[in-house]
Symmetry: D2
């Protein structure tokens, strides 16, 4: 049996209490919010999940909580975020014990591997587990762009079952889609870029892993549904609305991408009443009050000017 | 009157004879091939036009020839490719005297300007001419990514009339489309990436500047036509075929992007009988024979397996 | 009491057995080799120590072994290599329990912090421990260049006691030396670049952290001694010889920097009989036999053609 | 006969009048200032000479003026700054007709050549002229780091006679020095980094091309003289003083490197009465008055606290 991943699989943010402690109640609320919104999977311990800030103990609690609340309704993918093969494999053990349904691994980072070593890395990680493995392509963090031919080869050989593409390289993604199709589509191809999901789906993506999907999971579910039925005008309309909502991540100036991006998602979710606090992990500060005001105004505008969407939500029983 | 630019505006390659001299007969043949293929404009002296290799005298002859052969049927946009404002303005004089209808300028390069200086650069270039100015965003060559807010501001103030986006940043392009729309659409937005034209058009691009459009202008004309009538499935089908054809630029290994990319376009056009030689400018070597064989095989396959397209071509009188 | 660090403090490589297991006997032998060679400190769990490949358990065993064998003769500095503040602080606990005398931390990586967040990161790490903290500037791995003014400020306020500069930015290092001097020299400034130690010491560096110092600790001890007595011609002569020896890291082609660099150090040490194997951590392969032959030939030539050095070694009782 | 280049060869800035026009009177004054200061050559039309901003006509006038005023006392090297081989060769003609004694060329830029194409570029440029050719390695502007083996090979084959290294890669420079020496020293090796000249000379550099040498040519002449007689403590002392003076380029904030660096040199020279204006080429603004005040204060402090230097200047007839 081949596991495939498609549709909306948001990279779940990790709620923290104002004290900085992990807030599992908020995580439970968030998982419910996402599943109610119609997502097709949950990706915990990704970059948006602040995985790089979480201790191993907290990482395990995040997986366990997501798995428990999801209760099999959607698969839980877990990041195994570490610098090298031996340390990644330790993370695999951790998320296995937490009950994850699949793992998501980057190339090694901090270390500077070449192409052969990256290929070998994925093979060794896959060999260490029975869980399906997705490759996560995020050169802005890892420095290495994953090679298209390598990805398709690893897919054909059963080493990986999918790719989460956050490379920002739409040309490369299109070529990957065609190369995968030519190889019999061994890979589920997911774009990590929340504002070009319509184009990526038109190109042939199987799904989207949108950080913004934490805030508006139903919007992405609708976008994907429109794409699946070939209604590209509607998909584009949904994407445009979500792209406007995405402006929440650009409201802060002079802060890091972590603070501006994940911080904005957390503030929006706090405003929505889904989680309890916009608190970030040290040394990332919480956003300033004026920034939060602009974020909440954008969130409110996105909801209020789109009554048809609310209607749909009601109709869907959400 | 505002000049707008849309549809298919290929960056016209510059044919050279085997001797290395400019081959104006081949350029004339190429311009006819493009106009017959249904393009909506010609962009000469772009990166694909080897502008950075051409002497000023040859640059002028290229513009003059394109303008003469186009004969007003489509506008001729000309690159004014230079390192700094004073030298760009000299190029503006050159292409004005050649009869260009619009100019396309990058940010300064080699020098390392900041955002304010780039803004001022475009203002000074625009002030030096009555021709409409498009900003060319190509950070892989220039190092600087043009700022979205600056572009929209320059559009609103009438400094620039459009943007050719070869930034490879599809997220930024989507945000630019929305910001331009919110400002009343002062800018014509053109993507330079030939394998994601369908998604860019779905997002709201006004047109495409495809290097591959030299080889298959009619394919791009059909793609744009499909998009304009909202037939996104057909647009995607056309794009997929063109993306497969684009593999010609990846056939050479161990060569520069100039040799592999523009060299492939020239070899394809030579194979099609449009131009006389695949010769490149020094120090770029011509592609090896085995690479050319693979390129021509891809070109032939692209044409042969798409009889409906040939039919359309015949119907169009091409 | 202020702890200062100066002289030769090699980043100790981590020997592995052919099986891939940690080889603590070889580590013990290596530590003796280094102390006998005249080094002034040991830096374990640095990049050259493959820290990014070691599990936490192995990291702790490395620190414990180095501390036990050093037995107070020289201080043991330990890297606390992790992506973010919370995870670095966990590593601080680990190396504290192993008995380290000081800790060495980079800016956060994988995450993309801004300048304020990096400043805060060092403050939080320092606040978590009584051990002296050195900042490790290695932008090729971490992506961020540490700011000169921040480093001097953190030194003046007692947050950090030194900097290991592997930035490759000799202009920045010179400015740091002068800024530190102007502030009363709160920082010990160590260069991580083994082939420019003479110039760095002339500029005012307090010491050097040379990966190549694993292979020829005595050469670096002599270089530093020559510099300290103002014999720059001799320092340069020593540096030139060591730079020629450093060519061992460039013998492999088509491999990663990890394989070529640390791999070469390990092979040289194996050839010298100091450690048992050139084995690297997965997924880094061991160097090919022909590369190893070239490396050992360079090592032999470096020793054989420099009889005066061997004489000195004998005289020094090494 | 082999031409060699050594000692102090400043990259001569290009004075502009307040109107923005080329100020040849100031250039004449500057050339006298430099020769009186004891420099061993003049490098006009380099990056510090704003070559990328100057029209061809102005470039020619700069060369002619420098050659006329130098009157054979020191050689005049001229940059042939262009994007590609054909355009560089046109610049060679221009500076030949202006009377230059040598040419300095970068790798192609804007275009993205590979290693073989860069090698061929230098061969074609050298073949186009009888003037000696130096390779200029400035990856921050050109994007490509010149390969050490290629440089030594081109030197051995007589294609180039020297290298101006502004790569900021001191490790690579040290390796280049040793590789050149092993090949019989075909190349004159000049560092472009003004604050590490002492270390570069200790390593074996033949000379220095310091932008700051416009402001304090005599300081660099003294530094080189101290190095040549082996007085490294004095060379370091001179370098430290010059490094403190170099802080003038860091006084402006929020401006480009062009404005902050070359602008500072121009303001210092204006303050010294050597040239008439700190005006920069469009779109680079002149520095703000408060920045200029800080610059002139640093210049004054550098001179006033070093009476021994003034004495030497008087003795030297400066």
């Amino acid at each position: 049996m081949t596991t495939t991943f498609s549709g909306v699989i948001p990279p779940v943010i990790t709620p923290l209490a104002d004290s900085g402690e992990l807030d599992l109640d908020s995580l439970e609320s968030l998982v419910k919010h996402l599943i109610d919104g119609g997502v097709n999977g949950l990706f915990v311990l990704g970059s948006s999940g602040e995985v790089a800030f979480l201790t191993d103990a907290d990482r395990q609690r995040v997986v366990e909580t997501a798995v428990r609340v999801a209760a099999g309704r959607v698969p839980v993918l877990a990041g195994v975020n570490e610098t090298s093969t031996p340390r990644v494999i330790q993370q695999v053990r951790l998320v296995e014990s937490g009950g994850a349904d699949a793992i998501v691994a980057t190339a090694p980072f901090y270390v500077l591997p070449n192409a052969d070593e990256i290929d070998q890395h994925f093979r060794l990680v896959a060999a260490s587990t029975d869980l399906p493995l997705l490759a996560y392509d995020v050169p802005v963090r890892v420095r290495t762009k994953l090679d298209i031919a390598m990805l398709v080869r690893l897919g054909t050989e059963g080493v990986i079952v999918g790719v989460k593409d956050s490379s920002g390289d739409d040309v490369g993604f299109r070529r990957l889609v065609l190369a995968n199709r030519a190889a019999g589509s061994p890979l589920s191809l997911l774009t990590g870029h929340e504002v070009v999901a319509d184009g990526a789906l038109l190109a042939g993506a199987d799904g989207v892993v949108p950080g913004l999907g934490n805030v508006d999971p139903h919007g992405y579910a609708q976008l994907v549904a429109a794409a699946q039925r070939g209604d590209w005008a509607e998909a584009k309309r949904m994407q445009d609305r979500l792209t406007e909502l995405f402006e929440i991540v650009f409201q802060a100036s002079g802060v890091s991408g972590e603070a501006g991006g994940v911080g904005a998602f957390k503030e929006a979710l706090t405003h929505q009443g889904v989680i309890a606090s916009g608190r970030m992990s040290p040394p990332i500060p919480r956003l300033e009050a004026d920034v939060v005001s602009r974020i909440t105004a954008i969130v409110d505008a996105s909801q209020s000017d789109d009554s048809s969407i609310d209607a749909v939500r009601i109709n869907d029983g959400v």
